[in-house]
Symmetry: D2
Subunit: 367 residues, 4 copies
């Protein structure tokens, strides 16, 4: 299958490069009757916008989303929804020099070899810019999940380089440009980033996402297990090199007696599983983390090749993010929303006789 679509009953198909005319997409499968406006979608786009802090890309983008179809008198009609975001501030000339060079760590080399041609301006389709439409599409899913099912999705930066969040205050997340949940470390973060920018280097990050009040029963074993689909969805975001659910890689050193989440009439006693068991949601919070690699667009020179197989030194002078992880937060929420939306509809279709039970209610006989 051509790879620019995701989802079965709730399907998102996108197009657009960093320096093309526009980004856009088709969101297909949103049930009818949901109230939705461009402002609803603009909220998360603004959270994603570069220029939010002095450390993120200085590229000024408008990122104004338009809804072109599928909404009538303020409500979804059940037909496909067209989304469009025009590209604005592109500064093509920044990229002219790399026309014939493969920047290390970018998709230049692989796109060239896969397609035999590449749009060398700013990363083309490989650029993180295409995620703007994912965020808009995710906005539709987020609203449906919240309004119809009370499901909330929140992400935050849990670690930046060596600096880990030790406490999680969601209020704090929304009031600093890093989406960091631990107020006590904000100054350290600031200093670290400033030094990084001076060095002309970049750093990796870890993002944590939580979906709460999810119904029991989402996920389609064995191959479309919910965790497998979440992994797919999150790993499809640029720069992601790892995905984990619940305790993730910590389980390697856990004993079975430690790891298992016991059941009592009051509820589960723990959530090592991260809300997914045997590939199906348990009703507990779904907790996932991703690892984002440091961007390769740094001002420290590096070795590369041109298309004639000759060595060249690479220095990026364009605008870049010293830490792409910061911008990923709204994208991670959007992808989680898109995946949960798809599975919600699939469960409603696949098991119509079963009532959806929200949250973790062990032992309740829902028939």
């Amino acid at each position: 299958m051509a790879g620019n679509s995701i989802g079965q009953l709730f399907k998102v198909s996108t197009f657009g490069e960093s320096h093309g005319v526009a980004l856009g997409g088709v969101v297909d499968g949103c049930p009818a009757g949901l109230e939705i406006t461009e402002d609803d979608l603009q909220i998360d786009l603004d959270r994603r916008k570069p220029g939010q802090s002095r450390y993120t890309t200085q590229r000024r983008e408008e990122d104004k989303v338009q809804i072109l179809s599928g909404v009538f008198e303020g409500k979804t009609t059940g037909t496909s929804i067209g989304l469009l975001i025009k590209n604005g501030d592109q500064r093509s000339q920044d990229y002219g020099k790399i026309k014939e060079v493969f920047r290390p760590g970018h998709g230049d080399y692989t796109y060239w070899h896969k397609y035999g041609i590449r749009d060398y301006r700013g990363g083309g389709r490989a650029s993180a810019r295409e995620t703007a439409i994912r965020v808009a599409a995710g906005g539709i899913a987020k609203k449906y999940l919240k309004q119809i099912h009370g499901i909330e999705i929140k992400a935050c930066l849990s670690q930046l380089g060596p600096i880990k969040a030790e406490s999680f205050d969601w209020q704090c997340v929304e009031t600093n440009p890093f989406f960091f949940p631990d107020a006590s470390k904000l100054d350290a973060l600031d200093d670290y980033m400033r030094d990084l920018k001076k060095q002309g280097d970049s750093i990796g990050a870890k993002v944590k996402v939580i979906a709460s009040n999810v119904p029991v029963g989402l996920g389609e074993p064995v191959f479309d297990r919910l965790d497998a689909e979440i992994a797919h969805s999150l790993m499809s975001i640029n720069a992601v090199k790892g995905v984990e659910i619940g305790d993730g890689f910590e389980v390697v050193e856990q004993k079975g007696s430690q790891h298992r989440d016991e059941l009592t009439p009051e509820g589960f006693t723990s959530n090592h599983a991260g809300g997914v068991l045997a590939g199906i949601s348990t009703g507990q919070d779904i907790i996932a983390s991703i690892a984002l690699k440091p961007t390769s667009s740094i001002t420290i020179p590096g070795k590369s090749l041109n298309i004639n197989n000759e060595s060249v030194d690479m220095i990026t002078k364009g605008r870049h993010d010293p830490c792409v992880g910061i911008r990923a937060i709204p994208i991670v929420e959007a992808m989680m929303a898109i995946t949960l939306m798809d599975h919600l509809l699939r469960q409603r279709g696949q098991n119509p006789h079963v009532n959806l039970v929200h949250g973790a209610i062990p032992g309740s006989n829902n028939k």
Copy 2:
């Protein structure tokens, strides 16, 4: 979509529960002309079989696979291949007691709430038993990849609980029942496992898989990026809680200047990316690791509920694996093979060895 299929051009659909009549599947899309026999597939099934060491499940399974279609005079015909493995040794009475109880850490609770019904014998469809067919299907992919493209896929146990492999000797992997690559730690592993079995507990594990000689250009951005599909594929294996590519979660603390793999006329200078860049294979080894949780089938009692929402104590007396990670090795190889096969065909088509003949030319032999 119903979740028991994976892949687009190379599609595997499976059925079967641990205590049903048989396991089976349809492997669709293997190009014609590949020499394949039941013995080819039996090799990996035998590697997966319980009873291999005194620490793995004592359940004796035959696991003899039959090829029911799609192969003629020893070669694939390009039509769908049917696979069948009859279940043998099931000991149903072991599970009678848990008919009305949700074993913590298993799919009992979630399957009950998703479907409103569950096959309580031994885990039903949630059991790792269903992976036997994946291994057989993966065998077809492995052979095609190896024979036609020289691609090799190998996995090993890189960590069991606190014991990490410090060196990687692939010869060693095949000569111990743990698939462990570091000979110097085999005694330690043995002791650790013996203690675990006495305690009646279990432990997690980490498995590493490497695919070498992969062509450049596999992967379909943006959503079907190769790493996203590998993550999906590996996370769909029972007990997996995390997937990472290349340096994985280590990238969180890496600087851009460290992480990027520079290009020279002789080749890449490193492989932090793990063989995938911007979602497309680079030609370098694809390196991935997964985290497997410790099994919840242990003899240490735990709290659980029955279907009347009453507290019960759970003790598993059936057969179990103190470390499921050990058995995952052939399954991991199989899933990697299935995913790479699918992407190879998506890049190359269903019948790449056949030249397109335009217009009606009867009788022309186009080979």
Copy 3:
């Protein structure tokens, strides 16, 4: 996508050739809780079996279907259902002569050129034999549709060569080997077929299928319109060369004032549309017809080629059907059932807030 699967939420994947070991398939997505037995599926398989009348193929096939998974204590569990039918009576020696010859009108030529190899025994995967599994899978869908939704699906032979049914008596359909609904023409049919067999020739046929009590609202515009999916599904049956819905090709000469089905508080005044409007079911009977070509396996010699591009005379001596249309009836019902089942689940998933309204009830506000 590899082509041996059909459906999204209710997905059927099949394997098996006419002379292979067995036919089989995976039926994925049947909701849990449906009572189903092998006997339920055997009913339609027996209707399809050759040897039913002296005019149909004399090949004796057992066609005994086994359910290998997905059913527990007599009910579906919601997991994938494995089906198996062993091949029995094959008489391979009948086909030895055609190993290197392309029989005109068969898939020999096209399979050879598509795959570069072919299983020459009896048509291989192109043989109508593979439809046995479709009939078994369709049996599951038929039962669910009938039991849970009261939907009934019936097909009959509406025309054989020049002999058209002028009246439709469904009782009559089940009591003659032709599935013909007009008792007054049965003798004529008999005579016609006897002459045909003497001539060693074959004839085409038209089959009509009706689904009644279908809910309003099935179908997913614009590409998965219900009629488009029905057309796909029916055209995928061997020998089908045309599909029409409602008045079908008669609409070419109809005026708008004649064709449109007017709405009154008592119901629609007609059903020229055949139960589908703008690609969505109206609640009225869904009426479709297919045209089946005459089989090319006849004893009258014909010109063909061998693989060395030399002219040869073709005479089929094996067993064959002078009219394949007769055997298609259960297959047509099965494919209609599979498609409606898929769309029923998709509607339940896609529009969960809308209650399914069965039958044609114009004007009823179902919110």
Copy 4:
């Protein structure tokens, strides 16, 4: 699956209603390197435009298509192509009266019951207007098929009401507003249409499409047989009630000795099969016909209901086509192109022009 996408390797997803802001879509999977411009796509859009003759809809539409991504320096990049057509001349007030009425023969009734809501302006998503984007997308496929493979696709009006084309002159097709291939009957057509418009009625039509120089081997048995996919694709066009391949419904009365296309060293002796055998292309012309129903938007009053289940008389006063068949010609060509493109890539892969390079060989120019 949400129904607004079609295709696997060449996938088209669309959005847009007749009175929405714009129509658009994503065309995913076109191989890189194809030269394509907006003018290329505009050609077929202009052929489809209303106002071409005095008999077609008087609605003036601009139908100017924009390419928003996926094309760089005049060539496709292999990434998804975004298309946009802004809606212009809508005259919403024409439809105000039907806000609460179900027009017979239209999707009003079915959309209302499926979604619980409908965009009542001009047919909404059910309107033929959405096919404009299909034509644009089909233009990309047509160019690729023609340029890379020499495949040509042409459609014409073969019958309008009682008037059948007796001869087929493709030059004639392009020089009259009816796309009719028989010059001797043009006057009769003209007279017939004039009378129809006076009566305020409409008529059905038959359209024939031919694809020539198609390679042998396209189609994925058993469910994605090429003819089944063509049937799906063509039946998804508004107003289509029947699809036939080759001799279509004539085969019902054909003997096997007549129907089969014999093979000689010089070629096939006939083409009753219409270019598809056992679901795979033979290399001969693919010939298909569709039946289009007469539009229900006529000025002759008809009975209908409003949403309160009360009888009302319906008269359409807006602009309409007395014969929609005339406008379908470019749409039929587009859908045939989209389907053949998809199957060509499935047989050949996403990037057939690129050689697979194994292992990591930086800088090697593999073209």
